[in-house]
């Protein structure tokens, strides 16, 4: 029995009231495991982002339950949720959301600084992670000086700097060309997937499906099926 990282039960979310109500996610239940890369695919508007926001403690569901490593996150207070996100999750937003007024290495250090680590230690640690994504030479530049692929890698470094158990990517390859996209997802699989970590990726991009362990399909707010790809489970390396 694999280790359950995320257990969602009956997740439902709607927007608006009365006539205007749209149900974005209806009654979705699934599990995600440590040591796997789970892809969520589906047409635009099918509720992928909405569903994953509820899983990450960003959007409160109208119904249903999210358990992360066994604890019910939506029973937490606002501050408790913030602590949960900061401690357990790493996000890579679709458009990165890097801070143009900070240097690249400062951007990466943000989660550590929010965790109240000493500034210099946080920067030193961030520098190590920039090295992991191959950008240590860009540490002092502002992110706007970097290419799209490089910025994506900075966002990844920021997501992993606090060593979260769960990494969440929303459309990581949407604004990258095919080769760069593949290279990044391959890197994520090879370097960041450990048997203590669960990585969930929302994508449209069929060119990267080969890196998934499982692919979950969504349509019209509902889960329509799960495909077991089993992408080289044996490749899973040690810790990073």
């Amino acid at each position: 029995m694999p280790n359950v990282a995320i257990r969602a039960t009956g997740l439902t979310k709607w927007f608006g009231e009365g006539e205007a109500r749209t149900v974005a996610v209806r009654d979705v239940s699934f599990e995600a495991y440590f040591g796997e890369m789970l892809f969520i695919v589906g047409p635009s508007g099918s509720g992928k982002t909405t569903m994953l926001s509820m899983v990450s403690g960003i959007l409160r569901p109208n119904a249903g339950k999210v358990e992360i490593e066994g604890s019910d996150i939506w029973s937490l207070s606002d501050d408790g949720l913030a602590e949960f996100r900061l401690g357990k999750l790493g996000f890579v937003f679709q458009d990165y959301h890097l801070f143009p007024r900070l240097t690249t290495v400062e951007n990466v250090a943000i989660p550590l600084i929010l965790q109240r680590h000493n500034w210099n230690e946080a920067i030193a640690e961030a520098r190590k992670d920039l090295k992991i994504v191959g950008l240590d030479s860009r540490a002092e530049l502002p992110p706007v000086k970097l290419s799209g692929g490089e910025q994506q890698r900075v966002a990844i470094a920021r997501a992993i700097v606090s060593r979260p158990d769960i990494l969440i990517f929303d459309e990581p390859t949407a604004s990258l060309d095919g080769d760069t996209g593949r290279a990044i997802v391959s890197f994520v699989r090879k370097e960041l997937l450990t048997d203590k970590r669960c990585i969930v990726i929302i994508t449209h991009d069929a060119r990267i499906f080969e890196f998934a362990n499982r692919i979950m399909h969504m349509e019209d707010g509902k889960l329509t099926g799960v495909e077991d790809i089993g992408a080289g489970k044996t490749e899973v390396s040690g810790e990073t």
């Binding site: 982002t49 909405t50 926001s53 990450s56 960003i58 959007l59 606002d78 501050d79 913030a82 602590e83 949960f84 996100r85 900061l86 401690g87 999750l89 996000f91 937003f93 679709q94 458009d95 959301h97 801070f99 007024r101 900070l102 400062e106 943000i110 989660p111 550590l112 600084i113 929010l114 965790q115 109240r116 680590h117 000493n118 500034w119 946080a122 640690e125 920021r158 700097v161 606090s162 060593r163 929303d170 459309e171 810790e239």
Partner: protein
Amino acid sequence: MAAWRGNAGSMLGILKIAYKLLVNDRAKFAALLVGITFAVFLMIQMTSLFSGILNRSSATVINIGASMWVMDPAVQTVANSIPMPDYVLDEVRSIPGVKYAVPLYSGGALAKLEDGAYQAVTVMGLDDSNLFGRPALLEGNIQDIFAENGFIVVKDAEFPKLNNPKVGTTFELNDHKAVIVGIGQVATSGLFGVPTLYTTHNRALQYLPNTRFTTSYILVEPKTTGDVATIEKDVKAMGYLALTKDEFMDKISTFYKYQTGLGTNMLLMTVISFIVGLSISGQTFYTFIIENLEKFGALKAIGAKGSELVAMILFQATFTALTGYGLGIGICAALIALARLRIPDYAAMITFPNIGMAFVMVVVIAGISSYVGVRKVLKIEPFDIFRG
């Protein structure tokens, strides 16, 4: 792998991020500073000019230095005295608690200088027996004030209007001969731009036309500070008004503040500069927050708590406000110093209440600006950031 958990450390790093987000946005930060600096500058400039003028308006009270003043209740400023009959002096002297009481003459006259030009002057007549309230002398001997036609001239900004007189210079005062026997110095120059002469009370009465009553003010020294209240009460019973030095100065200030166009205009200007500063800085800070809203949203999504975002905004607003405050005061002090180079007698005074008032206003500006920012930032949905 380090165990990166826990919230043991301090907020310093978070504030450092806030600082960098603010200051590294050079153009916006400069605009914010200009707004606050300008507002503080205007407020301090206006109020210090006003303080300077108020201080000048009480110059005689400061220079004479008496503890208490007895006057007609209708007196509003020291320059416009209303003479009291002589018996008042005797009655004041008989109040228990009065150590001594002396008359002071204060009036205006026209001096005809040696070159034939006329110049208005203020004449202060000091009690003949003890010359209470006399100025410090730079030149001459105080006893010479009793010599025939003796006058002491004050060396202040108005001094050149008498053609820079020396000891021995003669002129005519209301057709009487007058001689400068000493050159004196006082703490504060007057507001009205006329030179000041000191002489004895008797000579002042001789030289200057006067009404039936001759005592402009009675200067009183109480035996102890505890006697002040009884003296005030007893003088009031006589139908006159006794005020301490500070009370008299307050009365004069109140007159200038509320009874003259000068005061109300200054107050209005101060309010306007506050509003200008508030709108410029509030507006710029608001734009700053709006442009960074997405970043604050990202911080929130990553796991920043509401209280931490509030701390960041408060820090940014406070830092900007205090920097602008310092700059504003600095520029104002520099400009006043510069003005003094050209106008030695420039009446501006940066007082602690002025600085304090500007500080309160800056705090209000920072408070309102951050309130608006905080409301915006607390309302962001990280979901919207997440959705891109």
